[in-house]
Symmetry: C2
Subunit: 340 residues, 2 copies
DNA sequence: TTGTACGCGTTATCAA
DNA sequence: TTGATAACGCGTACAA
């Protein structure tokens, strides 16, 4: 229960003033070599730690940034966070992480809390859809910079870092076409988040541009989890003309579908091809390994952090903002490798 | 670039003093209903947000806790963090997450930083081994409570939450024996972390208590990743008498071994059984699914948070501490199910 | 080279 | 019921 040492304690110890101690500690040139050494010695001896709170209060900069994601234990998001941290840590920033569980009220509360905590910025992958974006508007009207990543909303002054979801959807579908698949179904997550719409759009365009129709029964809305994927697959396979491929907007949903297909003894990729989205870790370890669209989450995190830092550097005068779109990369594995 | 509203701004607006505003905002009874309502109205109108930094400076409590883990994008650790957050968030705490990458200097720096940031506590899974624990001692001699989870060090006054690694190692090995395996090898991570030693001990005791010898060539030290596991498996299979089972202290290492065995067309579990440790997500999705010792990470996180909260509640007088050991649970899957 | 005094935003104590 | 003031720990302009 030792009380924390302050510069006043050191000052008293050495019979000087706190100001002098502060100068010694901050390499201020206006101090004698002798006192500086005395202070430094006392500081280590008394186990002094600078109180960053006081500093933050004075300077108005907390050197903390908030990071808000739906779930922290999805590999995709934890990798993004890792990228953010890697970039921000060397600059002296700390990262405060919160998860919303896709709960919008909670997301709003979290943002409020972070703002109260005087974070210098908020990097967020929002659970709000474009339709509800006005609900988020009040908190964004702040001095604190916001950066959207992955799941963004369009606000005139707010930066974003996303991946090219349309291209990802297009490439995945085109790849299935190239493999000779004729009836390509699509799983799409129906929570109104824009990026899923973009993947769907890419899917549709790839079909249309290659002489296929979009068959409504083949486009299945579902929740982003394994159980939903199993049910969706069941529904598809009970159709009069079942599909021979699935491009899924979610790896977790696809996982369920694969389990279901394997139960029916349908062989992948010979009789059925699948491609997922997000390149979750398990896709490469499964048998067969699953093709998936990679969103380079670590890169995305780094980029979001860089955009934030840029914004901090130039914040005095102009309020810059920037929308970065990273390329998506289709990773082809066994599950869609019909041809050699 | 709107300046943030303070209680002074509200006070000026209403021609009262900041103290009165503070009282109104904090439901202090010593205020008239009328002024309170006036203040509250002005506060929302002016978009006032309490500056928690100032509060923290005054109260000495930042309502932040630091969480330090080796890697944030391991499912095991992100699940622990999720447990911690679930428990702490409702109590008004924020979680500051840092990862050490198993780098000890960085770990020390991170701890220093967190202390500087005036966190109310630090929950940590350390990368330091028992041999080096004195290096960590200076920072622990603080008013700030520390809680070790998963990877602990023995300090007289510091709480810890761990899983019963010895029991986990024992159960896994015993299970392999029960399956009829005769030559059980062991992968063990050689970074001097205590918990790996405990798993090794459990392995040895299970063997000895069941009439088996511990064969030194079968106990392979390795790094905690897939490549190391492949090499280790190769070494084992090139022995004059190769083993017929592996109990691995790391799922990632085991993953490499399984890949190697599959390349040799050795069928699991018929000809070779394996059991891992940590119950990483991919173990259940692989073919065959991998048996593994579950450490209930979410529970571990919750428990660590609870211990921290207890400590905070009783901190005025006695410094309590507490060592919790959670049970480990062997999850049996195909990879070790020789018998029906 | 060092000391004095102030302000960051808040709450608590004392006085009015 | 409200106001004035001090304090939390720090950095810094100004004065000495």
């Amino acid at each position: 229960m030792t009380k924390k040492t302050t510069i006043y304690d050191i000052a008293k110890e050495l019979n000087i003033t706190a100001a002098t101690v502060s100068r010694a500690l901050n390499n201020n040139p206006r101090i004698s070599k002798n006192t500086r050494e005395l202070v430094l010695a006392a500081a280590t001896r008394m186990n002094y730690k600078q109180n960053k709170l006081a500093l933050a209060l004075k300077s108005g900069k907390s050197k903390n940034v908030g990071v808000v994601v739906p779930y922290i234990n999805r590999n995709f998001f934890s990798s993004i966070i890792r990228g953010i941290e890697d970039e921000l840590y060397p600059k002296g920033y700390h990262v405060i992480i919160s998860q919303t569980h896709e709960n919008k009220e909670r997301e709003l509360k979290i943002i409020q809390n972070l703002l109260n905590a005087q974070v210098d910025g908020i990097l967020i992958s929002t659970s709000y859809s474009t339709e509800e974006k006005d609900k988020l508007e009040p908190v964004l009207k702040k001095a604190t910079p916001f950066i959207f990543f992955d799941r963004k909303l369009d606000f005139p002054d707010i930066s974003s870092v996303t991946v090219d979801d349309y291209q990802g959807g297009f490439d995945a579908t085109k790849h299935l076409i190239d493999q000779g698949c004729k009836r390509i179904a699509h799983f799409y997550v129906n929570n109104e988040i824009e990026l899923y719409k973009n993947r769907l759009l890419g899917y549709k365009d790839a079909l249309l541009q290659n002489g296929f129709e979009v068959i409504p029964e083949y486009v299945i809305p579902l929740k982003n989890d394994m159980e939903a994927g199993m049910e969706a697959a069941e529904r598809l396979m009970n159709l009069l003309v079942p599909p021979d491929a699935i491009f899924s907007s979610t790896d977790y949903g696809l996982l369920g579908a694969v389990k279901y297909l394997q139960r029916l003894s349908i062989s992948i990729p010979e009789d059925f091809c699948v491609v997922g989205f997000s390149n979750e870790l398990f896709t490469q370890f499964m048998e067969p390994s699953i093709s998936s669209v990679d969103q380079s989450p670590v890169e995305m995190g780094r980029m979001a952090a860089k955009v934030f830092l840029e914004q901090m550097d130039s914040e005095q005068s102009v309020k810059i903002h920037k929308n970065v779109m990273l390329p998506s990369k289709l990773v082809i594995r066994k599950s869609s490798s019909k041809m050699k």
